[in-house]
Every structure is written in structure tokens, then in C-alpha cells.
Symmetry: C2
Subunit: 136 residues, 2 copies
């Protein structure tokens, strides 16, 4: 679980690479079914094919799931050592997503977990609002 090893698309299977490229080309979040529709011509036919590829891509750290959107984005972390603790600013006007690494905020949350004997497995941090381009 959470292999986290490669962080490269070298070892991807055909379906995994197709899904990754579709997400990367979109330049923003896509739902699983939007990915499926984008890949009909490449032979992708069933939701499960997409979900399986997404699961793998998330495990190796190439893709994030946006919980508040039920959608997926490629990881934009420079090195993504902190893949499990990324945060996302989601513009509700244009749909753009900005991934960032709120290290101090995450350590405060880790401290809370530690203080409360909560065995933290992963955190979801998502900011909703309007990005600078849209908010003039």
C-alpha cells in the first residue's frame, strides 16, 4: 500500500499512462467519467478501468483526489516528498486548482493528532474560493 516509489510514469501500464496523460493534458481536475469520455477513442470503455488506473496513480504519488469535487488532478509538487500532506486551493469560478505544501499548518495538525493519540494516516486540506485571476 502506498508504494510511493517511482514517481515517474516509466513503469505505468497502458491504461495508467492513458489516464495520467488525459489528466495532465486537462491542466485541471477531471472526474473519473470525464476521463473515461476523453479516452473512449483510445479504447477505454468502462468506469472500472479508469478507477483502477486512478487508484494506482494515487498510490505511486502521481495523482491526487480532490474530495470536495469528486475529481482528480495530477500532482504538481516539485518533488512531492510531501505527497500525503498537500493542500489545494480550488477556484469555484474557473475551476483552476493550485496545489501547495502548507508545511507549518500540517505540523500543527500532526501535533494535534499526536496530542490526542490519533494515529494520523492522511490529511485532506482543500480551500474553496476565487482565484486571483477571477477575483478582480
Amino acid at each position: 500500500m502506498h508504494e510511493h516509489a517511482p514517481k515517474s510514469k516509466l513503469e505505468l501500464t497502458r491504461n495508467q499512462a492513458l489516464v495520467f496523460d488525459a489528466l495532465a493534458d486537462a491542466g485541471g481536475p477531471l472526474t473519473a467519467y470525464a476521463i473515461l469520455d476523453a479516452l473512449r477513442e483510445e479504447g477505454m470503455r468502462a468506469p472500472l478501468q479508469v478507477y483502477r488506473a486512478l487508484t494506482k496513480l494515487m498510490n505511486v504519488g502521481l495523482v491526487h483526489r480532490l474530495e470536495s469535487l469528486n475529481a482528480f488532478v495530477v500532482c504538481r509538487h516539485p518533488e512531492c516528498s510531501s505527497h500525503e500532506t498537500a493542500a489545494f486551493a480550488i477556484c469555484e469560478t474557473c475551476g483552476q486548482v493550485d496545489e501547495f505544501a502548507p508545511d507549518e499548518a500540517v505540523s500543527l495538525l500532526q501535533s494535534w493528532a499526536s496530542d490526542h493519540k490519533f494515529a494520523l494516516a492522511r490529511t485532506t486540506i482543500e480551500l474553496r474560493g476565487e482565484c486571483s485571476s477571477c477575483h478582480k
Copy 2:
């Protein structure tokens, strides 16, 4: 939008009160359909009745939505002045949810937003892991 005024169940309609009580009685998160099933005998028949009540309850600050669970919980904030900035620790073993107010972490996120000219509307912070009771 986001009336945020009452924070009491005094002004609730019948359906809203039924949904609130079902959630409060559960003592933990419930999905909309679980609430519906719990309220069949009280006359609740359609998902939309539940979703409409939940929307209202969230607007007045009595209920939170857990994005990573597609479920809902009653607000446990003492005063809940910071209803929009609550965080949740979700035990993946027993399902228990602990709401807390990570004020310092939230201000760091607000600073990030401010620094990046992102007009922050609301934040989602959810910790997944195992609670102290389960993690022995």
C-alpha cells in the same frame, strides 16, 4: 446564503428537526440515505427531503458535511463561532469523528490565501486515521 444566525433548533421545520435529531441520535456521521432510512417511519420518503433539510442545517451552522466520507455530522463546537473553519479527525476503524478548531493552522492557510490573492470562502480539513480507543 450562510445565514448563520440561529444556531439553535428552535426555528427548524419538521423535516429539518427530524434530520437533525436523527444525526444527533446517531452520535456520529450518517450518509443522507442512512438518515432517510432512519426516518422512513416518520414519513420521510425521498432523498430530496433529506438533502434539503441538510442544506438548511448546514447553512445555519448545526451540521457539517464530511467531504471525504460523503456524510454529515452535527456540529460539536462549543460556540461554533468558527463553524466555517472546523476540522475533523475521522477514525477509519470505528467511524468516530472528533471535531476540533485548529485555529493556528487555519490562520496559516488564511495567510497563504491572502498572500496568493485567493478569496477564501471555506476550508475543508479532514484527518483520517485511527483514534486512541482503536489504536492500542
